[in-house]
Every structure is written in structure tokens, then in C-alpha cells.
């Protein structure tokens, strides 16, 4: 047993204990929710950074819960992809916890918010670290149920309507996932993902596997809001409180949708050209449809939500290209998108906090009154639109180069087009919201409180510095580790089982 793997269960234990401690005592002790919220997420972020080094050394770390050896017990697996996702999730979640200190003052019962927040975080971290397929489903549902409740947190008309739609569609998606898991269990007789991939390699392709693939694409694609299954996202994401919108758009759809799709199709079932072309088609479709729908929006958060669909399309397109460069671009875009999209949602929350409106037509000239918000928003907009030297440019460039190298000129064209349209729609946001002449009714608007500013500045820093992740020495320990996991594909199984054999 490797001592470095002792840290893996903490990613689930810490948020769970935070959630129940707050539920137990948060009502009495007013300072507790804020303090634990910030402190524990900071600890988790540091832990996820600590996990980078051993993963670089040992490649795959396995922790067997309760000392039950795989494939019998539940195992927790930590490899490059896991670490990438953990860093993304915990970085964004830390900033959001910081932001919520001030923002959530407007709502009563802050402790309920933090309880659900931590449950959702536990679910996401659990999905990422687990090596057991049914365990993945359980964590997926923990995160989903917490997110339904958080979307409905304000209990106003629109929030309830959006939450109901989201809850029903998401439950149906989970049912497809569960059905797929049941069939896979019936076919292979195991639930451990590593063992399952080994068994599937021996059994070879079957018609049942095709059916299971369809179920998983439907289920996880719904969680990831790929285009035929996207209709819940533009309702649910804007309706939640701003920190939760940031969390849903920034990390939830990636941890629950993109990560699971990658893990299951690349590492467990085994990727085939047919599935790759489905990924590419759905990715390109989401990319284009999302951005076209976004341009016409006047509600700031709704516009951002449509852009989430579009940017997830980029991630899936990059990964679906199947070439090492494409996968690298896709994963890098995943990191970048969580940073800048959560920053944009936090900005929209800051504007709403100060002015009370989300309608772009009512805003104008806010940059004079809210310099930090407008500055960070400018950075994030430039990032998402792919303007050099911000991080979004590099990842989009990688994806487009990979598409051209793979001979997919059509997809490269659509990616460029979607990028241009993204730039256009964010120029609209900047023009209407932050620049132009200040309206009279906003004369008394003031900048948001200090913790909100701090959270936005941290994320903006990562937007600017994100491109540095491509520097070869940094890339080698972080992004390429994740890329290697997907490129190796089915070796995941023998690796995760083999680690146990060697000690």
C-alpha cells in the first residue's frame, strides 16, 4: 500500500463531515458555516495540489476502502485525469465558497445553503475518485439531488419551475445510467471499473455493449447538457443563486458529464471510431447551437448558460477527435472553461448584487462604478472568446489544430465560427453592461464587498495565467498525465489492478 494513496478518501470525507457538522451546529453558531465553508474548501484545494506529485511518480494510485481487495470492495483510484478534475473542482469551489460569504447574506438560512453545497461537493469529488461503477452512480445522485435543491433554493416561481424541469430530466438521465450499469453488471459480473475493463477486453465486442453505450451517452450526455439533451440547462443554471450557477456551469456538468463520459468510454468500455464520431458530432452540434441561441439572449445569466452548452461542445469535440493533441486540447479547455465560466457567473452575480437586475438592456456604464467586476469580467470575456494571450485562446487553438491535423476540416471550421460568434456575443455583454454611458438610476451603485472581489480576482488570475499550463515542464506533470490516461485507454484496467498486485 502506497502511503501517498492515504489521502484519497479525504476528498470525500472532508466535504461530508463539513456538510453534517454545519447541519448539526450551523443554526446556532452563525460564524460556523462561513468559516468551515472557506476553510475546508481551501484544505481540499491544497490536498488536490498535493496529489499532483505522487501521481506523477506512480501514475496510478489505488486505495481499497475497508481493506477489501479489488475487485471485491470499493476501490478509489487516483490517476492523472482524477487529479486534473480534482484540481479544477476544488479550485473553483474554493473561490465560490469565498464569494458566498458575502453573497449569500441576502438569503435566510445560510447554513442550509452550505450543507447542500458541501453535499454537492462530496458528490462531485466522489464521482471523480471512485473506481467502482455503482459507487459512481451513488455519488452522481448525491451531487444531482443536492443541485436540484440548490436550484430551487430561492423558492420563487421561476426557480421552482426550473428546478422541477431539471430534476425530472436529470432523474431520467440517471435512470438510463443505472440501466446501463445493471446491464454491464449482468454482462461482466463485476462492478469494479478496472476489473470490468479487463473482462470486457476478453469478452470482446457485443451487441449489448452498443446498447449500453447508447444508454450511457444518453444518461451522461444529459448530465453534460450536450445538445439534444440540453433543454434543462438554460432554465436551471440561471435560476440558481449566482455562486451555485457558477458551480453548476463551472464544475458540475464537467464532473458529472464530461468526466464520466471520458472515464467510461475511454477506460472501461473501450473507445471505438463510431463512439468518437458520435462525440465529435454532438460536440460540434452543441458548440454551434449553443452559441446561436446565446446571441439573442438579453438575460445575462441565461446568455452565459447557453455559452456553457457551446463550450462543453468544444471539450467534447476535442476529446472526441481521439488524437493525443485533441484530447490535450479538450482537457485543457475543460480546465479553462471552469475557470472563466464560473468567473463570468460570479460577475453576473456581482452585478445582480449591486443593481438587482440581470437584464442587459437595463444596465450600462457600470465600469465606472464597479471597476473590479468589470475588469475581471473583461478578462473572462476575452478568455471565453479566445483572444490571445488569455487561456481560452490556447485551448481553442489546440483543438482547432488537432481537428486540422486529423483531417476534420469541417469541424475545425465550425469551431472557428463558434469562437467568432462567442466573441460577438461577449462584446454585446461588455458594451451593454459595463461600457457606454452610465444611467441615472445606477448613480448610487457601489462595488461589491471584499470577499466577492477577492474570489473574482483569484479566478481572473487563473484566466490570465492559465496559458502557462502549456509550458512543457508544467504540462508534463499536470495536463499530460491526464491526457496519458485517456490515450492509454483500456490499459487503465490492468494498471489499476496491477498496482495492487505489486504492493
Amino acid at each position: 500500500m502506497n502511503p501517498a494513496s492515504q489521502l484519497i478518501p479525504l476528498f470525500v470525507v472532508i466535504p461530508l463531515s463539513g456538510a453534517f457538522l454545519i447541519a448539526l451546529m450551523g443554526k446556532k453558531l452563525k460564524w460556523l458555516p462561513d468559516f468551515t465553508g472557506t476553510f475546508l474548501t481551501l484544505v481540499l484545494f491544497i490536498l488536490s495540489l498535493v496529489a499532483i506529485k505522487p501521481t506523477d511518480l506512480y501514475h496510478t494510485l489505488v486505495y481499497s476502502v475497508g481493506a477489501w481487495k479489488p475487485p471485491i470492495g470499493i476501490s478509489l483510484v487516483q490517476d492523472g485525469l482524477t487529479v486534473l478534475m480534482l484540481v479544477v473542482v476544488n479550485l473553483v469551489v474554493f473561490c465560490i465558497a469565498l464569494y458566498s460569504i458575502n453573497y449569500m447574506e441576502r438569503f435566510t438560512s445560510k447554513w442550509k445553503f452550505y450543507t447542500l453545497f458541501f453535499l454537492m461537493l462530496a458528490g462531485m469529488n466522489g464521482v471523480i475518485v471512485t473506481g467502482d461503477l455503482f459507487n459512481l452512480y451513488v455519488f452522481l445522485e448525491i451531487a444531482s439531488v443536492a443541485s436540484f435543491a440548490l436550484v430551487a433554493f430561492g423558492t420563487e416561481r421561476h426557480e421552482l419551475e426550473a428546478a422541477f424541469k431539471y430534476a425530472v430530466m436529470s432523474s431520467v438521465g440517471s435512470l438510463f445510467v443505472l440501466l446501463g450499469i445493471a446491464m454491464l453488471y449482468g454482462y461482466t459480473g463485476t462492478l469494479n471499473m478496472a476489473d470490468m475493463s479487463v473482462v470486457l477486453v476478453h469478452k470482446g465486442e457485443g451487441k449489448l455493449i452498443a446498447m449500453i453505450s447508447v444508454f450511457f451517452i444518453m444518461g451522461f450526455g444529459l448530465k453534460a447538457a450536450l445538445v439534444p439533451f440540453h433543454s434543462w440547462l438554460p432554465d436551471a443554471h440561471p435560476s440558481a443563486p449566482a455562486p451555485i450557477s457558477a458551480m453548476l456551469s463551472g464544475v458540475l456538468i464537467k464532473a458529472l458529464g464530461v468526466y464520466t463520459l471520458c472515464r467510461i468510454f475511454f477506460n472501461v468500455i473501450g473507445i471505438t471510431p463510431a463512439i468518437l464520431s458520435v462525440f465529435m458530432f454532438m460536440g460540434a452540434l452543441s458548440m454551434v447551437v449553443g452559441v446561436f441561441l446565446a446571441i439573442g439572449q438579453w438575460d445575462m445569466k441565461r446568455l452565459l448558460a447557453y455559452h456553457s452548452i457551446s463550450q462543453i461542445g468544444y471539450v467534447i469535440l476535442g476529446i472526441g477527435l481521439g488524437t493525443p493533441l485533441g484530447i490535450l486540447g479538450g482537457l485543457f479547455h475543460l480546465f479553462n472553461h471552469s475557470v472563466f465560466k464560473s468567473l463570468l457567473f460570479l460577475n453576473s452575480g456581482a452585478v445582480e448584487y449591486s443593481t438587482g437586475t440581470r437584464d442587459l438592456q437595463e444596465m450600462g456604464g457600470l465600469s465606472q462604478k464597479m471597476p473590479v467586476t468589470s475588469g475581471t469580467s473583461l478578462i473572462a470575456s476575452m478568455s471565453i472568446a479566445g483572444v490571445p494571450p488569455f487561456n481560452g485562446f490556447w485551448s481553442k487553438l489546440l483543438i482547432i489544430i488537432a481537428a486540422v491535423q486529423a483531417g476534420r476540416y469541417g469541424y475545425a471550421f465550425w469551431a472557428v465560427l463558434a469562437s467568432i460568434l462567442t466573441l460577438a456575443s461577449f462584446m454585446k455583454v461588455m458594451k451593454y453592461a459595463f461600457y457606454g454611458s452610465l444611467r441615472e438610476k445606477w448613480a448610487s451603485v457601489i462595488e461589491v464587498p471584499v470577499f466577492m472581489k477577492l474570489a473574482m480576482v483569484i479566478l481572473a488570475f487563473f484566466c490570465v495565467a492559465g496559458g502557462l499550463l502549456l509550458v512543457p515542464s508544467v504540462q508534463g506533470v499536470f495536463l499530460q498525465q491526464a491526457q496519458a490516461v485517456l490515450v492509454e485507454g483500456l490499459q487503465y484496467g490492468s494498471r489499476a489492478l496491477g498496482v495492487i498486485g505489486s504492493g
Binding site: 455503482f134 451513488v138 445522485e141 439531488v145 436540484f148 435543491a149 430551487a152 423558492t155 420563487e156 416561481r157 421561476h158 421552482l160 419551475e161 426550473a162 428546478a163 422541477f164 424541469k165 430534476a167 425530472v168 432523474s171 431520467v172 435512470l175 443505472l178 440501466l179 445493471a182 446491464m183 453488471y185 449482468g186 462492478l191 438554460p234 432554465d235 435560476s239 439573442g296 439572449q297 441565461r302
Partner: protein
């Protein structure tokens, strides 16, 4: 084989109910039916021909038991579906409070 097909039919009944019904409560019932179909499928996956219940007791030999693992999974899935259903019902009650109706064609303020 026909049992599996019937299970699939039950799942489709649930999906039909979710997609076609207008009443919020009926949609929730549809979700529950679909969940039961999946749970039934999990239990069927575990079935062995002429197997008996997987209960380990001192006076019986371990012979031809059905697979116990999916039954544990079904329990977990039931707990999860309980949580989802409770939340859905809670949201539905709040919706009724705000909109005064259960008809989803009238609860349609989010568009575009």
C-alpha cells in the same frame, strides 16, 4: 426473456408518462414507475435458475443462491429514488402554492 421485455415495457410506460402527461403529479408518478422498472431489472439480473434467497443461516448449505450484490444495489437505488421523489413532491407542492395549478402547460414562464 419475456420477463426482461416486460420490464422494458414497464420502463417505457414510465417514460411515456413523463413525456406525455401534463399534470405535475402524474409526471412524478411516471418517474417512480420508471425507477421501479430499473430496480426490477437489477433484481432480474441477479436471478439464477431455481435459486433461493441469499440469506446465510447456520442450518443451511450455501447452494444455488441468487446473486446477492444486485439486491444490495436495489436497496441503495431505492433510497436514492426516495430522496429524489421526496424532493420532487416538495417542489411540486411549492409550485402549486405559487402557480395555483398542476398543469405544466400553464407553468411555462421560462422560455427562449
Amino acid at each position: 426473456m419475456s420477463v426482461y421485455l416486460l420490464c422494458l415495457v414497464l420502463f417505457c410506460v414510465g417514460l411515456y408518462c413523463i413525456l406525455r402527461k401534463r399534470n405535475v403529479i402524474k409526471i412524478i408518478v411516471g418517474v417512480v414507475i420508471a425507477e421501479y422498472a430499473v430496480n426490477l431489472f437489477l433484481a432480474l439480473v441477479a436471478y439464477r435458475f431455481e435459486g433461493r434467497a441469499p440469506i446465510f443461516s447456520p442450518d443451511q448449505k450455501i447452494l444455488n443462491m441468487v446473486d446477492a450484490l444486485p439486491q444490495a444495489l436495489v436497496l441503495t437505488a431505492i433510497v436514492i429514488s426516495l430522496a429524489t421523489t421526496a424532493l420532487l413532491v416538495g417542489i411540486a407542492m411549492r409550485i402549486y402554492e405559487k402557480y395555483g395549478t398542476f398543469d405544466i402547460t400553464k407553468i411555462k414562464e421560462l422560455k427562449g
